[in-house]
């Protein structure tokens, strides 16, 4: 699957650029769950760059995956006279009270990538996290319609890990019920650590005598560890395995045939869109929503983007084309003669 | 006198601790090859002076000059002093409890090749040292398994292991019995024959008289004077120390002895480390109201284990019965003992008696803190302070302020704090294990007087002591122990030291 929206949205963004000739500098606060993950760094860079083009300043904070810290940091951002608060919540429920605090101070709130629950959020720009799980499971079930499945989930204390799991199960459960696939194990990697995933995969292979045909893995940093464990049993490339985030190392593994797929959230698009919406909120302009998502309290005006399943075949058309990673980087470990022609 | 005679000269030494002058222009001259006694009341500054000489307080933290072997000494640390040939046994035991006897003796000077310890040589040399001290223990045993007396001997062995030309002994015999003291003295005499100089600090003046050649007396941080021992008598030393005469060291006072209050029957105690070993073997005794019961014996006779088991603080198992005022009681821990009105001054003040980092006040009132509780459940600090001040006065504790940490007190003054703590608790029965360790003669006299006041008011006392004069001078009755067994019991009339010694070494 490729992304049909992509070219269109690119056009849209360039339009907005033209309309944003503005003198007074707008201040936007951006609160990240964490910057320890490769993708968020991209989000930050694209967002800041786009906001600059639109004449806005961005104050960036990272909460080290902790709701309380994030709450404090948002307070601090509001205290600095921002117009709009953009939040990638660590936990969409636990950050809700900040919305009211922001509104009291006249600050609009944009939920970025993950929704803020039960609060009067002004806008939402995202990919659907359950959808991510679905894409992972769909890709793997397509490759391995029958067989033994192992689920390598994320951090047991991360709310999003739960959402990914739900999405995966939505696709897998019918097949389990039909008897096509058998889930031989499900384990959660504390803190999304590569090392923990590696140990888990080693043990899963041992416990199942290597009789595992497919691994539905929740993200790339854990997939990296799992693939190491597969490699030790000479199973890398033979066992289908999913991922998420399109980390460089994992893209390399995909083109080498060792990882089956990753879920690429066209970050550039999301970040650019996010910046557009933020600036529009600041100016009180229309945000061009393409949908509404209910958060338990209201229907939040949303700009929803589609996550893309990327495998060996559409790598060039998606990730490389977007400039998310360069061809040289991704194909570094593949003999030159096998490189795709561009 | 010819300057060349002196191996050591300490000139105009002054040292203060945040405003308190511990040493005020002190001068000390020691001749080569002599055993030089250093006397003075508790807190006179003896230990402080010796710590300066051994590099604990480095050059620059005091004023004055040290000339050693003709050269000025500027010590930056303890190692420097050792390199210069000065060795010291500290007043406070400074052993590492978890390490073995031999490791403790050679700590800092381990026999080694390229940093790798030669354990067999270490064991071998330890054995030789211990034999010299007539101490029959396994060099590989951790020090924590030893009694205080034995630890003190290990400390002595440690000092002897270093080849020093000046050996400082700060209260080396405070927990030793006469027999061990005699062994130590023989060693000191041997060292003297080999040209080693010694500085000997002790509150046991008879020892000082016996072993030293010259004596220097300090008082209130100042030097009072030095004199050849042969020209001095004990009472002259006391006069120099205390500033007044003190003719009778034991103020024997008449007191009423009442009915029996405590009976210990067939009491046995097993070693806490190897549960099959009996340390106290079937001991029985009684204690009457207003009575002072002395318990004598050699080191390792099991006296400490006996009394601390009664008090409930010894970790090893025990058998036998205890009757308090006719009722059988079972004491499982000190908490219960104190509730029965039994208090104990432990032998090991640093390990068991005091909380070093806390103040004199906190330490003193720790056992009876409940009695200061007011209506709000809080401690009435002012009421507490009144008591604390009273005891500081009464026991002549030398301390600049009651909120000073006890670790800053001199050894003898710390001992007084432990005593005060137990007195404040108002016990019916007071157990004293080596109660006057390191306490000066003047203060001892005061404490003895206090003990008499206690017994006159009906309190009963059990006193374990290694000082026979003290046992004989104070007790109404004396129990003698040997290798865990009760070997004899004397009513204190015409008892002599010889009789007790005879009994303590196992003879009849």
């Amino acid at each position: 699957t490729t992304n049909p929206n992509q070219s269109k949205s690119n056009n849209q963004t360039s339009q907005t650029t033209n309309t944003s000739d503005n003198s007074g500098k707008i201040k936007i606060g951006f609160s990240f769950d964490t910057l320890n993950l490769e993708r968020w760094q991209h989000d930050r860079d694209y967002f800041v760059q786009r906001a600059k083009e639109l004449g806005a300043d961005v104050l960036v904070q990272s909460a080290n995956s902790d709701s309380q810290t994030q709450y404090s940091q948002c307070q601090n951002l509001i205290a600095q006279g921002i117009k709009v608060l953009v939040i990638i919540p660590h936990d969409g429920s636990a950050i809700a009270p900040i919305v009211e605090e922001a509104h009291k101070a006249g600050v609009k709130v944009l939920a970025y990538d993950r929704l803020i629950m039960n609060a009067d959020v002004d806008a939402y720009v995202s990919f659907d996290n359950e959808k991510v799980g679905e894409l992972q499971a769909e890709a793997i079930t397509k490759l391995v319609p029958k067989g033994n499945y192992f689920l390598l989930e994320g951090s047991p204390t991360d709310n999003n890990a739960k959402l990914f799991e739900q999405g995966q199960k939505k696709v897998l459960q019918p097949l389990v019920d039909k008897g096509d696939i058998k889930i031989v194990g499900e384990q959660w990697a504390q803190d999304w650590l590569t090392q923990n995933a590696y140990n888990i995969m080693q043990n899963a292979l041992t416990a199942n005598n290597n009789k595992i045909d497919a691994v539905v893995d929740a993200n790339d940093s854990t997939a990296l560890g799992a693939i190491r464990a597969l490699q030790e049993q000479n199973l890398a490339g033979k066992v289908a395995i999913s991922g998420q985030d399109a980390d460089l190392a994992n893209c390399q593994l995909i083109v080498e045939g060792k990882q089956s797929m990753t879920v690429y959230k066209p970050v550039k698009e999301e970040a650019t869109k996010g910046a557009d919406v933020a600036v529009a909120l600041a100016k009180g302009e229309d945000i061009n929503a393409n949908g509404k998502v209910n958060n338990g309290k209201i229907d939040v005006p949303s700009v929803l983007l589609t996550p893309v399943a990327v495998d060996k075949n559409n790598m060039v058309d998606t990730i490389i084309k977007d400039g998310f990673h360069s061809l040289d980087e991704v194909y570094k470990n593949v003999p030159k003669d096998q490189w795709p022609k561009q | 006198m010819d300057m060349g005679d002196f191996i050591l000269e300490m000139k105009n030494i002054t040292k203060d601790f945040s405003g308190v002058k511990a040493l005020d222009n002190v001068n000390l001259k020691v001749k080569k090859g002599e055993i030089h006694g250093l006397c003075g009341e508790n807190g006179a500054g003896k230990s402080t002076l010796m710590k300066i000489l051994s590099g604990v307080y480095p050059y620059g933290t005091f004023s004055g000059e040290i000339i050693f072997d003709g050269k000025e000494l500027k010590l930056n640390n303890i190692k420097d002093a050792e390199d210069a040939g000065i060795g010291i046994i500290y007043q406070e035991l400074s052993l590492v409890k978890e390490l073995s006897v031999s490791e403790n003796i050679f700590i800092g000077n381990e026999p080694n090749k390229n940093g790798i310890i030669d354990f067999d040589r270490m064991y071998y040399e330890t054995k030789i040292l211990l034999d010299k001290l007539n101490l029959n223990i396994n060099p590989n045993v951790p020090v924590k398994n030893l009694g205080i007396g034995q630890q003190q001997l290990v400390e002595i062995a440690k000092a002897l292991s270093k080849n020093v030309s000046l050996l400082i002994l700060d209260e080396p015999t405070s927990s030793l019995t006469d027999a061990d003291v005699e062994i130590l003295f023989n060693i000191l005499r041997q060292l003297k024959d080999n040209g080693v100089t010694c500085i000997y600090i002790s509150h046991k003046l008879n020892e000082v008289m016996e072993i030293t050649d010259r004596i220097t007396v300090q008082r209130d941080g100042k030097t009072i004077g030095s004199e050849d021992t042969k020209n001095l008598t004990e009472s002259e030393i006391i006069k120099m120390m205390v500033g007044r005469e003190l003719t009778n060291l034991f103020p024997k006072e008449e007191h009423q002895i009442g009915k029996e209050i405590l009976e210990v029957k067939n009491f046995s105690v097993y070693d806490s480390k190897s549960s099959s070993k009996k340390i106290v073997d079937n001991v029985s005794f009684t204690l009457k109201e207003g009575e002072i019961l002395g318990i004598a014996g050699l080191i390792g006779a099991g006296r400490t284990e006996l009394v601390s088991s009664i008090f409930g603080s010894y970790p090893g198992r025990h058998e036998g019965e205890i009757y308090l005022e006719g009722k059988k009681i079972n004491i499982r821990n000190p908490d219960e003992a104190l509730d029965y009105g039994i208090a104990m001054v432990p032998e090991d003040r640093k390990g068991q008696g005091l909380i070093n980092i806390l103040s004199v006040r906190d330490n003193m009132t720790l056992s009876n803190i409940e009695s200061y509780k007011n209506n709000f459940g809080s401690v009435d600090v002012n009421k507490e302070i009144v008591d604390v001040k009273k005891y500081i006065e009464m026991l002549k504790i030398k301390v600049s302020h009651f909120d000073l940490a006890v670790k800053n007190l001199s050894g003898g003054n710390q001992q007084k704090v432990v005593l005060a703590k137990n007195l404040l608790r108002n016990p019916k029965i007071l157990i004293l294990d080596e109660p006057t360790r390191g306490i000066d003669v003047g203060a001892k006299y005061e404490i003895y007087k206090l003990i008499y006041e206690l017994v006159k008011s009906g309190i009963s006392i059990i006193m374990v002591s290694s000082e026979l004069p003290e046992i004989i001078g104070l007790s109404d009755r004396i129990v003698v122990m040997h290798e865990g067994k009760k070997k004899g019991e004397f009513v204190n009339k015409d008892v002599t030291q010889e009789m007790i010694m005879q009994c303590a070494i196992g003879g009849k």
């Binding site: 009270p97 | 980092i357 302020h401």
Partner: protein, 388 residues
Amino acid sequence: MVNSKGFKENNVSINKKFSFNLKLYTMIIALVGIWIIFAIATKGDFLTSRNMSNLFRQMVSTAVLAIGMVFVIIAGQIDLSVGSLLGLTGGIAAIANVWFHINGILSIIIALAIGLILGTWNGWWVAYKNVPSFIVTLAGMLVFRGILIGITNGYTIAPLSSDFQFIGQAYLTPVSGYLLGIIVLLVGAYTIYSQRKSKIKYGLEVSPFYLDIAKIILMIVLIGLFVFTLNSYNGIPFSVLILAILVAIFTYIASKTVFGRRVYALGGNIEAAKLSGINVKKITLILFAINGLLAAVSGVVLTSTLNAGSTSAGQNAEMDAIASCVIGGASLMGGVGSVIGAIIGALVMASINNGMSLLNSAPFWQYVVKGLILLLAVYVDVASKNKE
């Protein structure tokens, strides 16, 4: 002679008082230093009443944990389970409130009771089974977090009923804020007066009158400033009030009660404490029980502030609490520490976090500068103490 002695003693006692205060003062100085730096760097943002209000609210949950932790540390023990316990009790309160529709107050009481019980569980193993507290509470950290994951099934539980939200989100009205300040002042003044009276009763030397007056004036200034600052934003936050009350109670327990004295004693030398008739086991048990209760208080406050209970709440909070205690002068070897110190420690940490976040520095700088400030602040403290 008596005169000269009396004089000497006076000197020392003043010296001592001074040095006692200095111990805390140096950390306060380091704190003020940090504040000044941030005030300059943020061009004043840091010192606005609004940010001060934020800062105090941000420190509450760590500070509450630190209060309990400092007792445990003084006693020579450690409690690694409080972070998980905070999460678990907060989660339980949220579940009771959201899933079972139990009202806020009752939900909170349930959470506190469970905190107390689980704290007692920790204490029982440490005191009566002699298992090192590090292990017991490490086990607790795993078990409590596990239970939390189990009962929430990984879901975040929100939103809470409004009576629950109150604790973490409400503010006192300005008037009641000033009223409270005045009450505190009166109590303070009365304490100083009655101490004076009691000193005279026992014939002890009283401090000069002007010193007591100075004390009262200082109190007026500090409390006034505090209330005024918070009132010029939204008022005194309810959660900060809870913290203040806990600080008062536990400072009192530590310094004025028999229990407090005994905790210091057993941390200073457990052997000597036992021989002094202290029931070491009982005290240890109580300490951990209290710590569990305070973890629950912290959990309730945090849950209410965030209006949600989540599986990851309180992760690593134990380290922040321990660090607060150590920054505030407590020693992990036991016997040393104070509630006020722990609170100042928590404030130092919260200030660094707040300031760095106001500065919007990149994560790289946040980590590095945070670490360095922490090191320097404690170094200043240590160095000045050593010199003295």
